[in-house]
Amino acid sequence: MSGSAKTDQLRLGFMETIEVEGRGHIGGLLITNQNGRPLEFQCTTPVRPNRTQEILFGETLRPWLLGELIGSTLLDRVAIKPSLVVTSDPCLLELRNHTEVPIAVAESATGGRRSVSGGDAGECRKLQLGGSMLRFHEAHNGDIDSLQKQKHLIPDSADLQEPLERVREALAETVRTVFAR
């Protein structure tokens, strides 16, 4: 069930991480079809940086931990490869440097119908998809162009931030059920 093979189908990834007190971070990736129906979910075991990593990575610790470490692991593990990964955490944009899959931070498309699709909007280009404004990695602005062809598959009413809530709930449930034992 390789999603991106068919041009009339779009597989979306929704990635979030949460911090578990005393255990570190865990991350989850939900793959859905273009209508938000879940197809696959993966989540990691908790990971906690040691003192050396904290010192040496400094400010780059979170992007490394969340993006490169957790994000890459999740993307490697999913059987259904997404055409786009949406997140709410800008730190996860770092993942784009380690994968070919476009990564975007979803922001609420405030101001209603202002379409910025593909145009310059400040420092980095943004793309309106459904009811959300997507911000991409500065060094990979070409991602917008690659998504333009499939943009029509996402209904205007789609809320790309809602599935992130599902991921957070699923992570919390996982922590309660498995890791809290």
Binding site: L39, E40, F41, T44
Partner: protein
Amino acid sequence: MDAAGTNGESVGASGSAAEADGGVMLPQRPELLQTGFNPALSRVPAPDTICSTLDMTLDFVPSWTPRRIPLKCIGLTLPEGVEFLPPTPPKPELPAESRRAAAVKPAEEAAEGEPPKKKVTRLKPPPDALSLQDRLFYLLQPPLESWLAGQELIMPFEPFSYQYEGIAWLFSSQAALLADEMGLGKTMQTITAIRLLLRSGQARRILLICPKPLIPNWQREFKTWAEELPVVVMEGNGARRRMLWTMPGVPILIANYELMTRDLAEMSEDEQPKFDLLVLDEAQRIKNRESNTALTARAIKRRRSWALTGTPIENRPEELGALFEFMEVIPKGGSPDLRQLSRLAKKYILRRTKDLVMKDMPPRIDRDAELELTDAQESAYRIAEKEGVIQLNDLGDSITVQHVFELVLRLKQIANYDPLTGESAKLERLQADMEEIAASGGKAILFSQWTKTIDWLEPRLKEFNPLIYHGGVPTKQREPILAKFKQDPKAHILLMSYGTGAVGLNLQFAGYVFLFDRWWNPAIEDQAVNRAHRIGVKNPVIVTRFISKNTIEERIDRVLREKRELFEMVLGEGDNNNRALSLTASEIFGLFDLKARHKDGAARSIGPKPVPASGEAA
């Protein structure tokens, strides 16, 4: 020595300078000893160099290279849904998306800029789902609103929020009793939950059992709410039905209770069909645990069990036990006490009342029409009562509730109309009311206990073009009758029997309901009234109960009022009253003052004594 002298002078000079500066004078000049070493100090040192290799081996070198920490993952692949033909494309003048959008648009347009956040209904894992995978399955589903509004599942109308909650609850439940009050959309909620189960791959084969008259209603509702779902109705001869029971690839099979009982009894254990979900509509039909219907329903192999009824308790709270046994949440033959029933009810029953969820619904206006019998009726009634009571008294201790029941029925029939003269106070009142209703273009439904009364009424209400809907009307003719009642502006009254017309029908276009005579149970009467007073009703529904004064009807009405209060108490929280909710044997006896006469002329009451805790229901 020059050097010494120079040294001595310089010291002395420095001492003078110190004095000049106001410093402290040394008391005595230092004495330099002649050691022969001093000249060596003045010679320029001549260091020599040698070559030596640097030792590069260190005892401890801290080293660190970033490496990727291996992380373990927990994965879940969600089942693929069943693909069906997409629904018929929406009509051009009103596209489905627009229809849906129309329902939600006013709220969106109300605010400028940021659209208002819509309330969402999320699925919750059922309490008995223990594995992480099972629980995640529910948590990862989209909110019902967006799921149903998506391109895949078009809804003809936007459900109410309590209906979304009901759908979510059903979808997550292995065992469920949806007991919403009549008229709140149990059918629609069930169909939508079934639709989601099929679409999400949670179920592939579903059996729905309902009373025979309701099959066309279910078919119609499936067409409205999930027209893409193939529905097969169990009908035809034995061979065909046998084939249908086990035919693969039928997602939804609808059968009536009688066929279920008959057909499955003829199948061997190996032949018994299996289902992912069994739904019993009007599930109070299995309240008698030992009945063939209940035994057959419980024996059906299935993974999920849902029961639907607006009256989970018709007579006694213990009836819930039969439903819980079907739902497999109590052991076979288990008899939970009231406290356990209450606990189980909280977990497995979802019941909402109109007062709770439909605050904006037009009200139901109840009015009692207390009527004096006509002279002929009065005369016939008194004679029948007097003779009947005498006969009962003569029976003495051999009297049974059946004897009393027969007298009650005879008196109730006379209260409807005098069989000899045809006089009827109720008919006179009905005709008067109907003239007014017909003049305003309104429609009314009339319920009676007897088909005989209905047939008697029909020719007498000719001017209002009455339609008849009771058990004597062949099933195939019933739907056209309902359609005619809805569409024909001249058809002002539908005459129905409680038994056939009280459940499952949507007649919310009728603004008036007449209860020509009273049923034994307030729950059945409510079911009847709610054919008209249900979702979609635009105007208040006026319910008129005919009660003949100074007759058995008045006494029954008093008992029923008390029953209604009890009914509300039992389904409320903290109820611990287990008194029977329907007429008990002692209450039926109590309708008459029955006394057996001794030879010595003394009299004593006969019949069962009132039972304080629980009694035998009528």
